[in-house]
Symmetry: C2
Subunit: 232 residues, 2 copies
DNA sequence: TGCCGTGATCTGTGATCACAGTTAGACTTG
DNA sequence: CAAGTCTAACTGTGATCACAGATCACGGCA
Protein backbone atom coordinates (compact mmCIF):
# COMPACT_ATOMS: atom_id res chain seq x y z
CA UNK A 1 0.00 0.00 0.00
CA UNK A 2 1.89 3.02 -1.28
CA UNK A 3 -0.94 5.50 -0.93
CA UNK A 4 -0.36 8.91 0.57
CA UNK A 5 -0.54 8.85 4.33
CA UNK A 6 -3.52 11.18 4.22
CA UNK A 7 -5.76 8.16 3.81
CA UNK A 8 -4.42 6.66 7.00
CA UNK A 9 -5.64 9.62 8.98
CA UNK A 10 -9.33 9.12 8.40
CA UNK A 11 -10.77 7.99 11.68
CA UNK A 12 -13.32 5.21 12.06
CA UNK A 13 -16.15 7.65 11.31
CA UNK A 14 -18.39 6.10 13.90
CA UNK A 15 -21.60 4.48 12.67
CA UNK A 16 -24.02 7.12 11.60
CA UNK A 17 -26.97 4.79 11.66
CA UNK A 18 -30.47 6.17 11.79
CA UNK A 19 -30.88 4.66 15.23
CA UNK A 20 -27.86 6.60 16.43
CA UNK A 21 -29.25 9.85 15.10
CA UNK A 22 -32.66 9.18 16.62
CA UNK A 23 -30.95 8.54 19.96
CA UNK A 24 -29.03 11.78 19.74
CA UNK A 25 -32.18 13.73 18.98
CA UNK A 26 -34.20 12.23 21.81
CA UNK A 27 -31.32 12.51 24.27
CA UNK A 28 -30.97 16.19 23.45
CA UNK A 29 -34.67 16.75 24.00
CA UNK A 30 -34.41 15.13 27.42
CA UNK A 31 -31.24 16.85 28.58
CA UNK A 32 -32.47 20.28 27.65
CA UNK A 33 -35.79 19.75 29.37
CA UNK A 34 -37.96 20.01 26.28
CA UNK A 35 -39.61 16.75 27.29
CA UNK A 36 -41.45 17.09 30.57
CA UNK A 37 -41.69 14.33 33.20
CA UNK A 38 -44.82 12.29 32.59
CA UNK A 39 -44.98 13.27 28.94
CA UNK A 40 -45.89 10.37 26.70
CA UNK A 41 -44.02 9.42 23.59
CA UNK A 42 -45.36 7.31 20.77
CA UNK A 43 -42.90 5.29 18.72
CA UNK A 44 -44.86 5.76 15.53
CA UNK A 45 -45.43 9.47 16.12
CA UNK A 46 -41.74 10.01 16.85
CA UNK A 47 -40.85 8.02 13.75
CA UNK A 48 -43.11 10.23 11.69
CA UNK A 49 -41.52 13.39 13.05
CA UNK A 50 -38.03 12.06 12.43
CA UNK A 51 -39.00 10.87 8.98
CA UNK A 52 -37.95 7.26 9.48
CA UNK A 53 -39.66 3.97 10.22
CA UNK A 54 -40.21 2.96 13.79
CA UNK A 55 -37.17 0.68 13.86
CA UNK A 56 -34.54 3.34 14.54
CA UNK A 57 -36.83 4.93 17.10
CA UNK A 58 -37.29 1.58 18.80
CA UNK A 59 -33.56 1.22 19.17
CA UNK A 60 -33.15 4.75 20.51
CA UNK A 61 -36.00 4.35 22.97
CA UNK A 62 -34.80 0.97 24.20
CA UNK A 63 -31.44 2.54 24.99
CA UNK A 64 -33.02 5.41 26.84
CA UNK A 65 -35.22 2.99 28.74
CA UNK A 66 -32.13 1.05 29.74
CA UNK A 67 -30.63 4.30 31.04
CA UNK A 68 -33.88 4.98 32.87
CA UNK A 69 -34.16 8.24 30.97
CA UNK A 70 -37.46 6.92 29.64
CA UNK A 71 -39.72 4.20 30.95
CA UNK A 72 -42.36 1.99 29.47
CA UNK A 73 -45.31 1.59 31.78
CA UNK A 74 -47.07 -1.74 32.31
CA UNK A 75 -49.76 -0.43 29.97
CA UNK A 76 -47.37 -0.20 27.09
CA UNK A 77 -46.87 3.52 27.07
CA UNK A 78 -43.49 5.16 26.76
CA UNK A 79 -43.05 8.26 28.83
CA UNK A 80 -40.55 10.41 30.64
CA UNK A 81 -40.40 8.99 34.18
CA UNK A 82 -42.03 10.93 36.96
CA UNK A 83 -39.55 11.56 39.73
CA UNK A 84 -40.45 11.70 43.39
CA UNK A 85 -38.75 14.21 45.64
CA UNK A 86 -36.91 11.34 47.33
CA UNK A 87 -35.61 10.04 44.02
CA UNK A 88 -34.57 13.54 43.03
CA UNK A 89 -32.66 13.95 46.28
CA UNK A 90 -30.89 10.63 45.67
CA UNK A 91 -30.02 11.68 42.15
CA UNK A 92 -28.70 15.01 43.39
CA UNK A 93 -26.52 13.36 46.03
CA UNK A 94 -25.03 11.04 43.44
CA UNK A 95 -24.47 13.92 41.04
CA UNK A 96 -22.68 15.93 43.71
CA UNK A 97 -20.44 12.98 44.52
CA UNK A 98 -19.58 12.03 40.95
CA UNK A 99 -19.54 15.39 39.22
CA UNK A 100 -17.64 16.83 42.17
CA UNK A 101 -15.10 14.05 41.81
CA UNK A 102 -14.81 14.76 38.10
CA UNK A 103 -14.18 18.45 38.79
CA UNK A 104 -11.44 17.57 41.23
CA UNK A 105 -9.87 15.29 38.65
CA UNK A 106 -10.15 18.08 36.11
CA UNK A 107 -8.16 20.38 38.36
CA UNK A 108 -5.44 17.75 38.50
CA UNK A 109 -5.29 16.70 34.87
CA UNK A 110 -6.40 19.66 32.77
CA UNK A 111 -4.16 20.85 29.96
CA UNK A 112 -4.09 24.22 28.27
CA UNK A 113 -6.73 23.40 25.69
CA UNK A 114 -9.06 22.28 28.47
CA UNK A 115 -8.54 25.59 30.23
CA UNK A 116 -9.30 27.47 27.03
CA UNK A 117 -12.51 25.53 26.48
CA UNK A 118 -13.63 26.05 30.06
CA UNK A 119 -12.87 29.77 29.94
CA UNK A 120 -14.73 30.13 26.68
CA UNK A 121 -17.78 28.30 28.00
CA UNK A 122 -17.78 30.21 31.25
CA UNK A 123 -17.66 33.55 29.48
CA UNK A 124 -20.38 32.61 27.00
CA UNK A 125 -22.78 31.69 29.76
CA UNK A 126 -21.90 34.76 31.82
CA UNK A 127 -22.61 37.04 28.88
CA UNK A 128 -25.91 35.36 28.16
CA UNK A 129 -27.10 35.56 31.76
CA UNK A 130 -26.17 39.23 32.01
CA UNK A 131 -28.09 40.11 28.88
CA UNK A 132 -31.12 42.34 29.20
CA UNK A 133 -33.48 39.57 28.12
CA UNK A 134 -31.60 36.29 28.50
CA UNK A 135 -32.44 33.51 26.08
CA UNK A 136 -33.28 30.82 28.62
CA UNK A 137 -33.08 27.75 26.37
CA UNK A 138 -29.73 29.03 25.16
CA UNK A 139 -28.59 29.54 28.76
CA UNK A 140 -29.51 25.94 29.53
CA UNK A 141 -27.43 24.81 26.57
CA UNK A 142 -24.47 26.96 27.59
CA UNK A 143 -24.68 25.67 31.14
CA UNK A 144 -24.36 22.15 29.80
CA UNK A 145 -21.43 23.17 27.64
CA UNK A 146 -19.60 24.63 30.63
CA UNK A 147 -20.16 21.65 32.87
CA UNK A 148 -19.02 19.17 30.28
CA UNK A 149 -16.00 21.28 29.39
CA UNK A 150 -15.03 20.80 33.03
CA UNK A 151 -15.76 17.10 33.08
CA UNK A 152 -13.93 16.49 29.82
CA UNK A 153 -10.87 18.03 31.44
CA UNK A 154 -10.75 15.06 33.80
CA UNK A 155 -9.64 13.07 30.75
CA UNK A 156 -11.71 10.13 31.94
CA UNK A 157 -14.10 9.08 29.17
CA UNK A 158 -15.85 6.66 31.49
CA UNK A 159 -16.56 9.36 34.04
CA UNK A 160 -17.91 11.68 31.37
CA UNK A 161 -20.18 8.97 30.05
CA UNK A 162 -21.59 8.28 33.50
CA UNK A 163 -22.29 11.95 34.03
CA UNK A 164 -24.00 12.14 30.65
CA UNK A 165 -26.37 9.40 31.81
CA UNK A 166 -27.05 11.32 35.02
CA UNK A 167 -27.90 14.47 33.07
CA UNK A 168 -30.26 12.45 30.93
CA UNK A 169 -32.23 11.66 34.08
CA UNK A 170 -31.94 15.09 35.65
CA UNK A 171 -32.59 17.13 32.52
CA UNK A 172 -36.36 16.86 32.37
CA UNK A 173 -36.75 17.80 36.02
CA UNK A 174 -34.17 20.57 36.24
CA UNK A 175 -34.23 22.23 32.88
CA UNK A 176 -37.97 22.21 32.42
CA UNK A 177 -38.27 24.82 35.13
CA UNK A 178 -35.14 26.68 34.15
CA UNK A 179 -36.40 27.08 30.61
CA UNK A 180 -39.49 28.85 31.91
CA UNK A 181 -38.24 30.66 35.00
CA UNK A 182 -35.68 33.44 34.77
CA UNK A 183 -35.56 33.67 38.56
CA UNK A 184 -32.66 31.41 39.30
CA UNK A 185 -30.60 32.59 36.37
CA UNK A 186 -31.17 36.21 37.36
CA UNK A 187 -30.06 35.48 40.90
CA UNK A 188 -26.63 34.82 39.46
CA UNK A 189 -25.67 31.94 41.75
CA UNK A 190 -24.70 29.67 38.89
CA UNK A 191 -22.53 32.35 37.34
CA UNK A 192 -20.59 32.88 40.55
CA UNK A 193 -20.11 29.15 41.11
CA UNK A 194 -18.93 28.70 37.57
CA UNK A 195 -16.36 31.45 37.97
CA UNK A 196 -15.12 29.86 41.17
CA UNK A 197 -14.86 26.46 39.51
CA UNK A 198 -12.96 27.90 36.59
CA UNK A 199 -10.48 29.66 38.85
CA UNK A 200 -10.02 26.56 40.99
CA UNK A 201 -9.30 24.39 37.99
CA UNK A 202 -6.90 26.91 36.56
CA UNK A 203 -4.96 27.02 39.82
CA UNK A 204 -5.12 23.26 40.24
CA UNK A 205 -7.17 23.40 43.42
CA UNK A 206 -9.15 20.18 43.28
CA UNK A 207 -10.99 20.64 46.57
CA UNK A 208 -12.23 24.08 45.57
CA UNK A 209 -13.33 22.87 42.15
CA UNK A 210 -15.24 20.03 43.78
CA UNK A 211 -16.87 22.40 46.26
CA UNK A 212 -17.87 24.80 43.50
CA UNK A 213 -19.55 22.14 41.39
CA UNK A 214 -21.26 20.71 44.45
CA UNK A 215 -22.63 24.14 45.37
CA UNK A 216 -23.82 24.70 41.82
CA UNK A 217 -25.66 21.39 41.70
CA UNK A 218 -27.10 21.78 45.17
CA UNK A 219 -28.23 25.31 44.42
CA UNK A 220 -30.15 24.26 41.34
CA UNK A 221 -31.61 21.22 43.10
CA UNK A 222 -32.75 23.23 46.12
CA UNK A 223 -34.38 25.71 43.76
CA UNK A 224 -36.33 22.91 42.10
CA UNK A 225 -37.29 21.31 45.40
CA UNK A 226 -38.43 24.65 46.81
CA UNK A 227 -40.83 25.08 43.92
CA UNK A 228 -42.47 21.89 45.14
CA UNK A 229 -43.44 20.40 41.82
CA UNK A 230 -42.29 16.90 42.76
CA UNK A 231 -44.55 14.14 44.02
CA UNK A 232 -44.56 12.46 47.46
CA UNK B 1 -63.37 -3.23 44.15
CA UNK B 2 -63.89 -5.41 47.22
CA UNK B 3 -61.09 -7.84 46.55
CA UNK B 4 -58.76 -8.94 49.30
CA UNK B 5 -55.85 -6.58 49.79
CA UNK B 6 -53.46 -9.31 48.74
CA UNK B 7 -53.99 -8.30 45.15
CA UNK B 8 -52.89 -4.79 45.93
CA UNK B 9 -49.49 -6.02 46.99
CA UNK B 10 -48.42 -7.35 43.63
CA UNK B 11 -45.68 -5.04 42.45
CA UNK B 12 -45.42 -3.74 38.89
CA UNK B 13 -43.83 -7.06 37.90
CA UNK B 14 -41.53 -5.29 35.49
CA UNK B 15 -42.00 -6.16 31.86
CA UNK B 16 -40.88 -9.70 31.28
CA UNK B 17 -40.41 -9.18 27.59
CA UNK B 18 -38.17 -11.48 25.63
CA UNK B 19 -35.81 -8.58 25.04
CA UNK B 20 -35.49 -8.11 28.78
CA UNK B 21 -34.65 -11.74 29.31
CA UNK B 22 -32.13 -11.72 26.49
CA UNK B 23 -30.50 -8.67 28.06
CA UNK B 24 -30.29 -10.38 31.44
CA UNK B 25 -28.68 -13.45 29.91
CA UNK B 26 -26.09 -11.53 27.95
CA UNK B 27 -25.34 -9.19 30.84
CA UNK B 28 -24.71 -12.18 33.10
CA UNK B 29 -22.36 -13.71 30.57
CA UNK B 30 -20.38 -10.48 30.44
CA UNK B 31 -20.23 -9.81 34.16
CA UNK B 32 -19.07 -13.28 35.01
CA UNK B 33 -16.37 -13.22 32.36
CA UNK B 34 -17.74 -16.02 30.24
CA UNK B 35 -17.46 -13.74 27.22
CA UNK B 36 -13.86 -12.82 26.52
CA UNK B 37 -12.72 -9.42 25.22
CA UNK B 38 -12.58 -9.53 21.44
CA UNK B 39 -15.03 -12.38 21.21
CA UNK B 40 -17.53 -11.92 18.43
CA UNK B 41 -21.25 -12.29 18.82
CA UNK B 42 -23.70 -12.90 16.02
CA UNK B 43 -27.25 -11.70 16.47
CA UNK B 44 -28.68 -14.62 14.58
CA UNK B 45 -26.51 -17.17 16.35
CA UNK B 46 -27.42 -15.73 19.74
CA UNK B 47 -31.08 -15.72 18.75
CA UNK B 48 -30.80 -19.41 17.85
CA UNK B 49 -29.22 -20.26 21.18
CA UNK B 50 -31.86 -18.31 23.11
CA UNK B 51 -34.60 -19.84 21.02
CA UNK B 52 -36.12 -16.55 19.88
CA UNK B 53 -36.03 -14.42 16.77
CA UNK B 54 -33.32 -11.84 16.38
CA UNK B 55 -35.56 -8.97 17.49
CA UNK B 56 -35.20 -9.47 21.25
CA UNK B 57 -31.48 -10.03 20.79
CA UNK B 58 -31.21 -6.82 18.82
CA UNK B 59 -32.78 -4.89 21.64
CA UNK B 60 -30.53 -6.49 24.24
CA UNK B 61 -27.41 -5.90 22.19
CA UNK B 62 -28.29 -2.30 21.41
CA UNK B 63 -28.61 -1.66 25.14
CA UNK B 64 -25.27 -3.27 25.86
CA UNK B 65 -23.68 -1.31 23.04
CA UNK B 66 -25.07 1.88 24.57
CA UNK B 67 -23.45 0.88 27.86
CA UNK B 68 -20.22 0.17 26.00
CA UNK B 69 -20.35 -3.38 27.31
CA UNK B 70 -20.41 -4.49 23.69
CA UNK B 71 -19.39 -2.65 20.55
CA UNK B 72 -20.23 -2.92 16.91
CA UNK B 73 -17.18 -2.48 14.75
CA UNK B 74 -17.22 -0.47 11.52
CA UNK B 75 -17.30 -3.82 9.73
CA UNK B 76 -20.67 -4.68 11.21
CA UNK B 77 -19.48 -7.17 13.75
CA UNK B 78 -20.64 -7.20 17.36
CA UNK B 79 -17.97 -8.07 19.84
CA UNK B 80 -16.83 -7.62 23.41
CA UNK B 81 -14.62 -4.51 23.33
CA UNK B 82 -10.90 -4.95 23.62
CA UNK B 83 -9.57 -2.84 26.46
CA UNK B 84 -6.17 -1.19 26.47
CA UNK B 85 -4.16 -1.04 29.67
CA UNK B 86 -4.77 2.71 29.78
CA UNK B 87 -8.53 2.25 29.48
CA UNK B 88 -8.42 -0.42 32.15
CA UNK B 89 -6.55 1.90 34.48
CA UNK B 90 -9.13 4.60 33.87
CA UNK B 91 -11.95 2.17 34.55
CA UNK B 92 -10.24 1.02 37.74
CA UNK B 93 -9.79 4.57 38.99
CA UNK B 94 -13.45 5.33 38.38
CA UNK B 95 -14.50 2.11 40.08
CA UNK B 96 -12.40 2.91 43.13
CA UNK B 97 -13.94 6.36 43.35
CA UNK B 98 -17.55 5.32 42.86
CA UNK B 99 -17.63 1.93 44.54
CA UNK B 100 -15.58 3.35 47.40
CA UNK B 101 -18.12 6.11 47.78
CA UNK B 102 -20.94 3.58 47.76
CA UNK B 103 -19.23 1.58 50.50
CA UNK B 104 -18.88 4.70 52.62
CA UNK B 105 -22.55 5.47 52.10
CA UNK B 106 -23.36 1.88 53.04
CA UNK B 107 -21.57 2.31 56.34
CA UNK B 108 -23.74 5.35 57.01
CA UNK B 109 -27.11 4.07 55.91
CA UNK B 110 -27.13 0.28 56.36
CA UNK B 111 -29.92 -1.32 58.35
CA UNK B 112 -29.97 -4.69 60.06
CA UNK B 113 -31.16 -6.62 57.02
CA UNK B 114 -28.31 -5.13 55.00
CA UNK B 115 -25.83 -6.28 57.62
CA UNK B 116 -27.30 -9.76 57.55
CA UNK B 117 -27.04 -9.96 53.77
CA UNK B 118 -23.46 -8.70 53.80
CA UNK B 119 -22.45 -11.13 56.52
CA UNK B 120 -24.07 -14.01 54.68
CA UNK B 121 -22.33 -13.12 51.42
CA UNK B 122 -18.99 -12.62 53.08
CA UNK B 123 -19.16 -15.98 54.79
CA UNK B 124 -20.24 -17.81 51.64
CA UNK B 125 -17.31 -16.49 49.69
CA UNK B 126 -14.86 -17.17 52.50
CA UNK B 127 -16.01 -20.77 52.74
CA UNK B 128 -15.72 -21.28 49.01
CA UNK B 129 -12.23 -19.82 48.81
CA UNK B 130 -11.02 -21.94 51.70
CA UNK B 131 -12.28 -25.14 50.12
CA UNK B 132 -9.78 -27.75 49.05
CA UNK B 133 -10.64 -27.27 45.38
CA UNK B 134 -12.48 -23.97 45.06
CA UNK B 135 -15.11 -23.71 42.37
CA UNK B 136 -13.76 -20.65 40.59
CA UNK B 137 -16.86 -19.67 38.60
CA UNK B 138 -18.85 -19.94 41.78
CA UNK B 139 -16.31 -17.82 43.63
CA UNK B 140 -16.67 -15.13 40.96
CA UNK B 141 -20.42 -15.21 41.44
CA UNK B 142 -20.13 -15.02 45.22
CA UNK B 143 -17.70 -12.12 44.94
CA UNK B 144 -20.29 -10.24 42.93
CA UNK B 145 -22.95 -11.07 45.48
CA UNK B 146 -20.85 -9.68 48.31
CA UNK B 147 -19.97 -6.46 46.53
CA UNK B 148 -23.55 -5.74 45.55
CA UNK B 149 -24.79 -6.58 49.03
CA UNK B 150 -22.52 -3.76 50.17
CA UNK B 151 -23.60 -1.36 47.48
CA UNK B 152 -27.27 -2.08 48.00
CA UNK B 153 -26.78 -1.05 51.63
CA UNK B 154 -26.12 2.49 50.42
CA UNK B 155 -29.84 2.59 49.62
CA UNK B 156 -29.09 4.57 46.49
CA UNK B 157 -30.61 2.79 43.48
CA UNK B 158 -28.92 5.18 41.10
CA UNK B 159 -25.50 4.44 42.53
CA UNK B 160 -26.11 0.70 42.33
CA UNK B 161 -27.19 1.00 38.72
CA UNK B 162 -24.05 2.95 37.80
CA UNK B 163 -21.88 0.33 39.45
CA UNK B 164 -23.71 -2.42 37.59
CA UNK B 165 -22.77 -0.70 34.34
CA UNK B 166 -19.15 -0.52 35.47
CA UNK B 167 -19.09 -4.23 36.26
CA UNK B 168 -20.50 -4.92 32.84
CA UNK B 169 -17.41 -3.32 31.36
CA UNK B 170 -14.94 -4.76 33.85
CA UNK B 171 -16.33 -8.28 33.96
CA UNK B 172 -14.84 -9.65 30.76
CA UNK B 173 -11.38 -8.37 31.64
CA UNK B 174 -11.30 -9.22 35.33
CA UNK B 175 -13.30 -12.38 35.65
CA UNK B 176 -11.96 -14.08 32.57
CA UNK B 177 -8.64 -14.52 34.31
CA UNK B 178 -10.13 -15.20 37.71
CA UNK B 179 -12.21 -18.02 36.32
CA UNK B 180 -9.07 -19.74 35.08
CA UNK B 181 -6.46 -18.79 37.68
CA UNK B 182 -6.72 -19.93 41.26
CA UNK B 183 -3.64 -17.87 42.17
CA UNK B 184 -5.27 -14.69 43.33
CA UNK B 185 -8.09 -16.41 45.14
CA UNK B 186 -5.63 -18.67 46.93
CA UNK B 187 -3.59 -15.66 48.01
CA UNK B 188 -6.58 -14.66 50.11
CA UNK B 189 -6.32 -10.92 49.62
CA UNK B 190 -9.93 -10.55 48.58
CA UNK B 191 -11.12 -12.51 51.59
CA UNK B 192 -9.24 -10.28 54.00
CA UNK B 193 -10.47 -7.10 52.33
CA UNK B 194 -14.01 -8.35 52.41
CA UNK B 195 -13.79 -9.09 56.11
CA UNK B 196 -12.43 -5.61 56.74
CA UNK B 197 -15.20 -4.03 54.69
CA UNK B 198 -17.84 -6.00 56.53
CA UNK B 199 -16.47 -4.99 59.91
CA UNK B 200 -16.19 -1.34 58.88
CA UNK B 201 -19.77 -1.22 57.67
CA UNK B 202 -21.02 -2.93 60.81
CA UNK B 203 -19.25 -0.36 62.96
CA UNK B 204 -20.34 2.52 60.77
CA UNK B 205 -16.80 3.45 59.76
CA UNK B 206 -17.26 4.90 56.29
CA UNK B 207 -13.62 5.74 55.67
CA UNK B 208 -12.49 2.21 56.49
CA UNK B 209 -15.19 0.69 54.30
CA UNK B 210 -14.14 2.91 51.44
CA UNK B 211 -10.49 1.99 51.92
CA UNK B 212 -11.29 -1.71 52.04
CA UNK B 213 -13.26 -1.66 48.80
CA UNK B 214 -10.57 0.45 47.15
CA UNK B 215 -7.88 -2.02 48.19
CA UNK B 216 -9.94 -4.95 46.94
CA UNK B 217 -10.51 -3.35 43.53
CA UNK B 218 -6.93 -2.20 43.23
CA UNK B 219 -5.62 -5.61 44.23
CA UNK B 220 -7.60 -7.38 41.55
CA UNK B 221 -6.71 -4.75 38.95
CA UNK B 222 -3.01 -4.91 39.71
CA UNK B 223 -3.18 -8.67 39.43
CA UNK B 224 -4.70 -8.37 35.97
CA UNK B 225 -2.25 -5.71 34.85
CA UNK B 226 0.71 -7.75 36.10
CA UNK B 227 -0.35 -10.65 33.94
CA UNK B 228 0.15 -8.31 30.99
CA UNK B 229 -2.66 -9.53 28.80
CA UNK B 230 -3.80 -6.03 27.88
CA UNK B 231 -2.83 -4.23 24.70
CA UNK B 232 -0.77 -1.05 24.32
C1' DT C 1 4.10 -21.96 -6.18
C1' DG C 2 2.19 -17.52 -5.03
C1' DC C 3 -1.23 -13.96 -5.69
C1' DC C 4 -5.41 -11.80 -7.05
C1' DG C 5 -10.21 -11.63 -8.49
C1' DT C 6 -14.85 -13.48 -7.55
C1' DG C 7 -19.00 -15.28 -5.85
C1' DA C 8 -21.46 -17.50 -1.97
C1' DT C 9 -22.48 -16.52 2.63
C1' DC C 10 -22.59 -14.06 6.55
C1' DT C 11 -23.04 -9.46 9.04
C1' DG C 12 -26.09 -5.58 11.16
C1' DT C 13 -29.70 -2.22 9.70
C1' DG C 14 -34.11 -0.83 8.23
C1' DA C 15 -38.97 -1.59 6.74
C1' DT C 16 -43.12 -4.06 6.96
C1' DC C 17 -46.46 -7.13 8.67
C1' DA C 18 -48.97 -9.47 12.60
C1' DC C 19 -50.71 -9.56 17.11
C1' DA C 20 -52.43 -8.94 21.82
C1' DG C 21 -53.60 -5.59 24.89
C1' DT C 22 -55.14 -0.99 26.08
C1' DT C 23 -57.63 3.37 25.45
C1' DA C 24 -60.89 6.52 24.14
C1' DG C 25 -65.03 7.84 21.90
C1' DA C 26 -69.52 7.17 20.15
C1' DC C 27 -73.52 4.79 20.62
C1' DT C 28 -77.11 2.61 22.98
C1' DT C 29 -79.80 1.85 26.92
C1' DG C 30 -81.95 2.70 31.35
C1' DC D 1 -79.95 13.40 30.54
C1' DA D 2 -76.55 10.30 32.51
C1' DA D 3 -74.28 5.87 32.75
C1' DG D 4 -72.74 1.69 30.80
C1' DT D 5 -71.11 -0.91 26.72
C1' DC D 6 -68.96 -1.90 22.55
C1' DT D 7 -66.17 -0.91 18.70
C1' DA D 8 -62.39 1.25 16.26
C1' DA D 9 -57.97 3.10 16.58
C1' DC D 10 -54.06 3.16 18.84
C1' DT D 11 -49.97 1.03 21.92
C1' DG D 12 -45.34 -1.73 22.17
C1' DT D 13 -43.53 -6.37 21.02
C1' DG D 14 -42.08 -9.92 18.05
C1' DA D 15 -41.26 -12.20 13.51
C1' DT D 16 -40.09 -11.97 8.82
C1' DC D 17 -38.38 -10.01 4.69
C1' DA D 18 -35.03 -6.98 2.06
C1' DC D 19 -30.67 -4.94 1.43
C1' DA D 20 -25.91 -3.12 1.31
C1' DG D 21 -21.57 -4.14 2.78
C1' DA D 22 -17.89 -7.26 4.60
C1' DT D 23 -15.63 -11.74 4.93
C1' DC D 24 -13.69 -15.88 3.36
C1' DA D 25 -12.74 -19.73 0.65
C1' DC D 26 -12.23 -21.46 -3.79
C1' DG D 27 -10.33 -21.37 -8.48
C1' DG D 28 -7.66 -19.47 -12.18
C1' DC D 29 -3.89 -16.71 -13.82
C1' DA D 30 1.01 -15.37 -13.80
Amino acid sequence: MNLPTALNLVEPLDRQTLGERAYARLADLLMSGRLAPGEKLSLRAAADVLGVSIMPVREAVSRLVADKALEVTPNRAVRVPLMSAAQFRDLTKVRIAIEGHAAAQAAAHRDSSDLAAIARAEEAMRLESEAAVPDLPRAVELNKTFHFAVYEASHSPILVEIIRALWLKAGPVINLDLRANPDRLAKGDAIRFHAAVRKAIESGDGAAAQAGIAADIKGAADFILSRGGLAE
